[in-house]
């Protein structure tokens, strides 16, 4: 992650074969439009991280302002031995993997359905996008109060109505959030992220070479064979892209956890836990150490993500 930054930084001093004044001026003229954005990003995103790194080695709690000092690896030791932290890592993995996998599978199915011509295709596509365009906090509030609520939520309301159709006045009325807190969060996120996956996969499907598929069909391949041996391999990079971009966003999810369960009932993921250590316990050193560990974990995932984007990018061809 930072190695890219360094390269970007050092390249300005790259030795040139014939350092004529005019040539140098033209190189700077090329660079000039880029510099404001680059400098801005380095200041706003790289400096705070350096600060986090420094604070992670400090003993610093805002409740005890007189005891600020160097702590060595104490914060890291406390983070690694903290049961809540370990639970948070596990919760983050379950939450991210659950949301990404389920929304990817659903998104693939729906993309395949929408890749056919039928009446109202545009309307269905528009309806599918809607969940992604509800403000995340608002979506989480709607799921918590208007859908999951055991007394007046739509889910239990629908159960009452269906049971009523069969003449029963004793429908099951589960308390969804208490019974399955993590799944409650996962489902609300799957609802928001399936459209995202669907859009990427649909774009992938529509870039398929149709003549080859037609040829395979004439040669007697059935739908399943075409899907297995032609569509799926073609979609692989789009599936990877969807999974990785989805992971980047969902690993960082705060809104749904904060709103639906307030991090209770074993749903506190890493961003929420770090927020708590910092915002409620005011333990700056420990929050920073946790943040550093999360960043290291992210770099490992991000390396794969960058590789995927980079492979898509190379296919596009260079200018």
């Amino acid at each position: 992650m930072t190695s890219v930054a360094e390269e970007a930084g050092t390249q300005t001093e790259a030795p040139k074969p014939t350092p004529g004044v005019a040539k140098r001026a033209s190189a700077w003229a090329r660079r000039a439009p880029l510099l404001p954005a680059l400098v801005f990003m380095i200041i706003v995103t790289q400096l705070p991280f350096v600060a986090t790194l420094v604070i992670s080695f400090m003993d610093w709690n805002a409740y005890y302002p007189d005891e600020v000092g160097f702590a060595g690896f104490d914060n890291f030791a406390r983070v690694f031995t903290d049961v809540n932290m370990r639970d948070a890592v596990w919760t983050t993995i379950l939450l991210t993997a659950g949301v990404v996998l389920i929304s990817l599978v659903l998104g693939l199915g729906i993309a395949l359905l929408l890749d056919r011509k039928f009446r109202g295709r545009g309307a269905v596509r528009t309806m599918m996008i809607a969940p992604f365009l509800v403000v995340p906090v608002a979506a989480a509030l709607i799921w918590k109060h208007a859908l999951y609520n055991p007394e007046y939520g739509l889910f239990n309301g629908a159960l009452t109505w269906i049971w009523g159709l069969f003449g029963s006045d004793n429908p099951p009325q589960p308390d969804w959030i208490s019974n399955m807190p993590l799944w409650a969060v996962i489902f609300s996120l799957v609802w928001q992220w399936t459209p995202f996956m669907m859009l990427i996969l649909l774009a992938g499907l529509q870039g398929r070479p149709l003549d080859v598929i037609e040829a395979a069909r004439i040669d007697g391949a059935n739908n399943w064979q075409i899907f297995r041996s032609m569509t799926l391999p073609h979609l692989r990079q789009y599936l990877e892209l969807g999974a990785l971009l989805g992971s980047i966003y969902i690993v960082q999810n705060f809104d749904a956890v904060f709103t639906i369960t307030s991090g209770g009932l074993g749903t506190a993921n890493l961003p929420y836990t770090i927020y708590q250590i910092f915002y409620q316990a005011h333990d700056y050193g420990r929050a920073s150490a946790a943040a550093v560990i999360v960043v290291i974990g992210t770099i490992i995932i991000a390396t794969f993500a960058l590789r995927t984007v980079s492979s898509l990018f190379k296919e596009e061809g260079r200018r």
């Binding site: 390249q11 880029l34 056919r116 509800v134 239990n156 904060f258 709103t259 961003p271 927020y275």
Partner: protein
């Protein structure tokens, strides 16, 4: 992307095809149902909103909206704060991103792809890792509860996305057109105005809308860095997290009002949404 441009399988379909179309409709309706339910409930009275089984055909009323806008704390300052932060940060993002994208595509600098990947890598750093230093900086600089701090942060949050998107749109400008312009002796301004601008204008609009959406949606930083003065709309919504008796209609009205700008911007950018969300790697 659009139904017009999409190549579709044109094989003959019998009854199986009809069932698949029906299935697509059912799934589409299931996905949009919570949104429709939110809108419908927002127009019900509080008593009807809390019915079980649901009172679908209950009379419509503006009670929920009235309660939301004038019941307690006014939602207007947060809504205006969100609007300010989103619009200003989007404007700054475009000002920084368009020249940068130009230097990464039309007249590329050396090692331009490294620079591009540096921008992307910043997007992968968990934002929560930068939260504490920004908070401490704001506290020392007296910028806590100041909308400008959010504007700067939202700019940094969206700049990588915008650079990637704009680069992808700028590389759609045909090289021949640029060459022809330079052969004709057109200067930079003229080339920008008459060759590049017409091709990339829709791209700029889509980039702006997507940056607007991401800024408008942001909760974590707004919650930590603002209080009463610079509070944004998502932070205002968190007052509905704990249940408060009969409040469902008001909650749905609030959720709908806050989501409305995003729904409008999102449907407006519909055709370029994938390209934007995939940072230009999927067209």
């Amino acid at each position: 992307m659009t139904a017009v441009a999409a190549p579709v399988n044109k094989k003959k379909e019998g009854r199986g095809g009809a069932w698949l179309s029906l299935l697509a409709w059912v799934i589409g309706i299931l996905f949009v149902l919570p949104v429709l339910w939110m809108v419908l409930t927002s127009f019900h009275s509080e008593a009807n909103a809390a019915q079980n089984p649901p009172a679908v055909f209950a009379p419509l009323t503006l009670e929920g909206y009235r309660e939301f806008f004038s019941g307690g704390a006014s939602p207007w300052p947060p809504l205006l704060n969100s609007l300010t932060a989103s619009i200003l940060s989007t404007a700054i993002v475009l000002l920084l991103a368009i020249p940068a994208a130009y230097a990464l595509s039309i007249k590329p600098v050396k090692k331009w792809s490294d620079v591009l990947f540096f921008f992307l890598s910043t997007k992968m750093l968990p934002v929560v890792a930068g939260l504490l230093p920004l908070y401490l900086f704001a506290q020392n600089a007296g910028l806590l509860d100041n909308i400008w701090l959010l504007i700067i942060f939202y700019t940094s949050m969206n700049l990588p996305i915008a650079v990637w998107m704009m680069r992808s749109f700028l590389s759609e400008v045909p090289v021949e057109m640029l060459e022809a312009a330079s052969v004709d002796g057109a200067g930079l301004t003229k080339t920008l105005r008459s060759v590049i601008a017409p091709v990339v204008m829709p791209g700029i609009a889509a980039t702006a809308l997507i940056c607007f959406i991401f800024s408008w949606n942001e909760l974590l930083f707004a919650r930590v860095l603002t209080a009463t003065v610079a509070e944004t709309a998502p932070v205002f919504l968190t007052s509905f997290v704990t249940s408060q008796g009969l409040f469902l209609a008001q909650l749905c009205a609030a959720a709908f009002v806050v989501s409305l700008p995003v729904l409008v911007a999102g449907f407006a950018a519909q055709d370029k949404l994938v390209q934007g969300l995939s940072l230009g790697s999927v067209k």
